[in-house]
């Protein structure tokens, strides 16, 4: 019971800090707590996302999506971390690395907490019988809301670092650009998350891997 309380109670703090402002940098949750939060909470929204048009033939979709959402978050972070570490070191910010990582990971925890809180909305809309296209838009909107909350919290948690050195602004910018750049492709490679009706559930698509940016470019410029 006590261990559940130690996990759940800081969750409220993480979200409140984003709204009320961070008065004390020590209030940023520990790295271990944030990582545990992402690992435990992110499958909740993954499960909800994969529950579209649920019937017996699609029972694996929620399970696959519940596995894939934490994989997406952790794998993207792992790919971006070596560059972040090396750049921080060369810019002379190594002493602040732990604080910066705590801020980043706590914002990701906030992202997953917000998504989990929106899971009931998604399930409610699925229950209303929305189309596959509408389901994609709904999930896109939920991710947008969660990203906005995570951004607000990241900025609050990063504020003491930015006050210490302007170089942290460069590192924050690098993290955001690299994370979004890699994250979009990671999400594209790990699809399907929602699952097209009539197609049996698979962990990865049967087609070979492709590049999300090239696909978007070809949609905008068909001849390219």
């Amino acid at each position: 019971m006590k261990s559940i309380q130690t996990l759940v109670l800081p969750a409220g703090d993480v979200l409140r800090q984003g709204i009320e402002g961070l008065r004390d940098p020590r209030q940023v949750p520990s790295l271990r707590w944030s990582l545990a939060c992402i690992a435990i909470v992110s499958p909740i929204y993954g499960f909800a996302m994969g529950s579209f048009n649920l019937d017996l033939s699609r029972t694996l979709y929620p399970l696959f999506s519940a596995c894939k959402l934490p994989i997406m978050i952790f794998a993207t972070s792992l790919l971006c971390l070596p560059g972040y570490f090396a750049l921080s070191t060369v810019l002379g910010l190594r002493n602040d690395l732990h604080a910066a990582l705590r801020a980043i990971v706590s914002s990701q925890a906030a992202f997953t907490l917000t998504l989990a809180s929106l899971a009931t909305f998604t399930l409610f809309l699925y229950a209303n019988g929305i189309t596959h296209r509408a389901a994609i838009l709904v999930n896109g909107f939920m991710f947008l809301v969660a990203t906005a909350v995570a951004q607000a919290i990241l900025r609050k948690h990063y504020a003491p670092l930015l006050a210490r050195s302007r170089k942290h602004a460069f590192m924050l910018c690098y993290w955001l650009v690299a994370y979004v750049f890699v994250g979009v492709q990671m999400g594209w490679m790990l699809r399907p998350f929602i699952g097209t009706p009539g197609i049996p559930p698979t962990f990865f698509r049967a087609e070979p891997f492709s590049n999300a940016y090239i696909v978007v470019l070809r949609l905008i410029f068909p001849g390219s």
């Binding site: 792992l78 790919l79 971006c80 070596p82 560059g83 570490f85 090396a86 750049l87 070191t89 060369v90 810019l91 002379g92 190594r94 690299a178 750049f181 890699v182 492709q185 990671m186 594209w188 490679m189 891997f209 492709s210 590049n211 940016y213 090239i214």
Partner: protein
């Protein structure tokens, strides 16, 4: 007792270099920045980044891709170190002419340290390159991603070099007064830095042209070196002129 560096001390030395702890004015001048550790580091980090570049040929099942991986692990560090070999005499002379006061070995130590920083940053961004390589067949996208990664690593390492040069100038034994933003000493450092970067970039781009192919165009044979033809500048000129002609004669 031999003075051969252990693996742990080599890693500690690299970490301290990246943190700027080995490039204080006194250390660069006195020679405590260990070249015998950073030389091998430049080779190792270049080989690591070279192997990430080679993933594109491997992912596309290009004939001779695994051999190309081996070639790139040699060619990438060679690109940086051969450029330094060609440019070093002139870089040292410019430094002496502009009164920056760095001795021969100190100049070499500083430039090798900068190359190590550049390659360490490029290697640390390698996982991102490898990840995109696995899922991308577009040659243009991979070329642009390589340019972006090497560009970012280059800019940060240039900033590292400039910061070290400024520290050296501020701590100059011949200059007891503090350096103001408009002082001749600061201008000398700025001028030398500009000449160094220009010289290194010009020779480096031609060295890159000479050592191509790096990424390997799909369908083209992956050789260690292509036959010598033209130069980097000539190639850029021809492409630019070709584009200009095409736009002025759209029917051609």
């Amino acid at each position: 007792m031999s003075n051969v560096p252990t693996r742990a001390s080599a890693i500690v030395a690299l970490d301290e270099l990246l943190r700027g702890k080995l490039t204080s004015a006194a250390q660069v001048r006195s020679g405590t920045t260990p070249v015998r550790i950073f030389g091998p580091w430049a080779l190792a980090l270049g080989a690591i980044h070279g192997s990430f570049i080679a993933w594109y040929a491997i992912a596309n099942n290009s004939p001779g891709a695994w051999r190309h991986l081996f070639y790139l692990m040699i060619k990438l560090p060679a690109l940086f170190l051969l450029t330094l070999f060609v440019t070093f005499p002139s870089l040292y002379v410019f430094n002496a002419l502009m009164g920056c006061g760095l001795r021969f070995r100190a100049t070499l130590r500083l430039l090798i340290a900068t190359i190590v920083v550049n390659l360490a940053l490029a290697a640390s961004l390698g996982p991102i390159l490898a990840f995109f390589t696995v899922s991308t067949t577009s040659y243009t996208f991979i070329v642009l991603l390589n340019v972006a990664i090497l560009g970012l690593a280059g800019i940060v390492s240039i900033a590292f070099l400039l910061r070290t040069l400024m520290n050296l100038q501020q701590d100059s034994p011949s200059d007891s007064t503090p350096v103001s933003t408009e002082s001749p000493a600061r201008n000398a450092v700025g001028g030398m830095f500009f000449i160094w970067i220009l010289t290194y970039a010009l020779v480096g781009s031609q060295m890159g042209w000479l050592l191509r192919p790096f990424i390997g165009y799909p369908g083209q044979e992956l050789t260690f070196l292509r036959p010598r033809s033209g130069s980097f500048v000539e190639s850029v000129w021809n492409i630019t002129a070709g584009q200009a002609n095409a736009s002025s004669n759209p029917r051609r």
